[in-house]
């Protein structure tokens, strides 16, 4: 989400110019499948597991993960979406707007919540998400699944499930889309 947000909001808006493709669409699907297996393995099945996709980049990934988990374990996983705008720590510093309406379909008390996002960068979005999730009940545990971990953390946050670790410079941008993962830069419009 951090990536997308930076790309679409003022004053950092611009056009993403890809430099190289890091993961193909098939690679992303394989990584999703592996991460789904890891989630089921680590939690001894899917009892109490709830997937929550972060708006906007994490939502399609969480949806696809739910499909894989459904195939693997033969049961449906509750799936929610979360927008963390109201919990961000930079409200009043830069333009912050909700991208979509949050939808958490179940009381999270006692659940194992797996937060899903496309790119883990500074960790600030995840920090906001942890605060936001607290409003929906006291989860037994919260785990973090990301397609790309690009480093540069500013908070003590680490992922539990990673699609790919990708060393980047701060100026670069990572785009996770339908057709895979690309690394590039943001250019002025």
């Amino acid at each position: 989400m951090a990536e997308r947000e930076r790309s679409h909001t003022r004053p950092l808006g611009g056009v993403f110019v890809p430099r190289s493709v890091v993961l193909s669409a098939a690679d992303v699907q394989r990584a999703l499948t592996r991460m789904s297996h890891e989630i089921a393995e680590r939690n001894g099945g899917l009892d109490d597991v709830v997937l929550v996709g972060l708006q906007t980049g994490g939502v399609p990934l969480a949806r696809r993960m739910a499909v894989v988990l459904g195939d693997v374990e033969g049961r449906e996983v509750p799936l929610g979406t979360l927008d963390v705008a109201f919990y961000r720590d930079d409200i009043g510093l830069r333009p912050v707007l909700p991208e979509a309406v949050t939808d958490i379909p179940v009381d999270l008390t006692g659940k194992v919540v797996v937060l899903v996002d496309d790119v883990l960068f500074t960790g600030r979005t995840v920090r906001a998400a942890l605060n936001a999730l607290g409003e929906f009940g006291r989860a037994r545990s919260i785990q973090l699944a990301v397609m790309i971990d690009r480093g540069h953390r500013e908070l003590p946050i680490r992922p539990d499930y990673v699609g790919k670790n990708l060393p980047t410079s701060r100026q670069e941008m990572v785009d996770v889309g339908e057709d895979g993962v690309a690394i590039g830069t943001l250019s002025d419009r």
């Binding site: 927008d83 919990y87 409200i91 333009p95 309406v101 949050t102 939808d103 409003e135």
Partner: protein
């Protein structure tokens, strides 16, 4: 947009489009769309078992109502509290205003306490514009000024209508965008002359592409409609069959509307939404009312209880819409309370200790 012959233009020009919400005209189509979309996100917060977010922690919102109100004041205060802002409420009746303190001095005093937003209602048209000109750093929100405007009411009306249309279409309201108002026919009935709600509604609905008509006794229509993007419907019974939305207004006895009609019974007879008239409404048509509703005058009791009457829903939605308004003004860049803020001269000590 509005002619000079109308009370609307008696209010001074808008001072700022970014910092304050004084008129619906400040927002325009895209601004209205933004408020409605953000309000959808807050409506979800409102549906939670714990309907509170930390978004505006450390900001202070003051409501200054120089004229009575139930729902607008409660709604703004609830909205501010759900955003975790601190709320001060100046009860004008028990304040120094009674001792003769001027509006300007009252505003300066309140602002000196480090207030971030002033929610102002006043009996004089243009009062909020004046307050906005005096305010050094506070954001000013017009909660109703005389006959002039009541922007948050028009916005929550738009929000409620889109919500109803989205429900019928079976889609989330935000996915409808703002085009759902295009070509809708909206009829405003009643005391248009004294109504700030009507003025804000006309600006909002027109900006969104709806066609707006008005109906009411000639004495309660504005003295001139030159420049208003509305048509006048002479025959209410006929007009009701052709509209998607009927917006009812209250007869405002406190502004002397009573003197403009021979009697309330006669008003009801000609312009009230009686059961007979309600049955003429097109299928799917809905009725809005800003409240307080005078049952038996502008609307019959049994009509007020029909599912097509959205008044209660409007009140519910008012909180989410006002959360959006406060968030957009008080959450904008440059408003972070952790950053050093300029302290008004002469109040350094008081502000320092008050904000600890």
């Amino acid at each position: 947009m509005i002619s000079t012959a109308d009370p609307v233009s008696a209010a001074p020009e808008t001072t700022s489009t970014e910092r304050h919400l004084l008129s619906v005209a400040d927002l325009g189509r895209s601004g209205i769309a933004e408020v409605l979309d953000v309000a959808e996100a807050f409506a979800e917060v409102e549906r939670r078992s714990m309907p509170k977010v930390p978004t505006l922690r450390g900001r202070v919102v003051a409501t200054l109502f120089f004229e009575e109100s139930t729902r607008t004041r409660l709604s703004f205060e609830t909205a501010a509290k759900r955003l975790s802002a601190d709320v001060l409420s100046l009860a004008v009746g028990t304040s120094s205003v009674k001792k003769g303190e001027s509006l300007r001095d009252t505003i300066e005093t309140v602002e000196a306490m480090g207030i971030d937003a002033l929610i102002v209602r006043h009996r004089s048209s243009g009062a909020c514009h004046q307050v906005a000109r005096w305010a050094r750093r506070a954001h000013v929100v017009n909660a109703g000024d005389g006959w002039h405007e009541h922007p948050s009411q028009a916005l929550l009306d738009c929000f409620t209508l889109r919500q109803v249309w989205a429900e019928r279409a079976g889609v989330p309201p935000a996915s409808m965008g703002i085009d759902c108002f295009d070509g809708k026919r909206i009829l405003i009935v009643g005391d248009i002359r004294h109504s700030r709600v009507a003025r804000s509604q006309v600006l909002a609905y027109d900006a969104l592409g709806a066609s707006v008509s008005i109906a009411g006794p000639g004495s309660l229509l504005p003295p001139s409609l030159a420049g208003w993007p509305v048509t006048v419907e002479p025959d209410l019974d006929d007009a009701l069959t052709r509209v998607d939305v009927v917006s009812l207004l209250r007869i405002q006895a406190e502004r002397g509307s009573g003197a403009f009609v021979p009697s309330l019974r006669e008003y009801t007879e000609h312009w009230g939404l009686t059961s007979r008239r309600a049955s003429r409404l097109a299928p799917g048509a809905v009725v809005t009312h800003p409240g307080p509703m005078l049952r038996g005058v502008e609307v019959a009791g049994e009509v007020a209880d029909l599912p097509s009457m959205l008044a209660t829903r409007q009140v519910t939605n008012g909180v989410a819409v006002r959360m959006a308004i406060l968030f957009l003004l008080l959450g904008a860049p440059g408003t972070d309370p952790r950053a050093a803020r300029p302290v008004p001269e002469g109040v350094r000590v008081a502000v320092g200790s008050d904000r600890g």
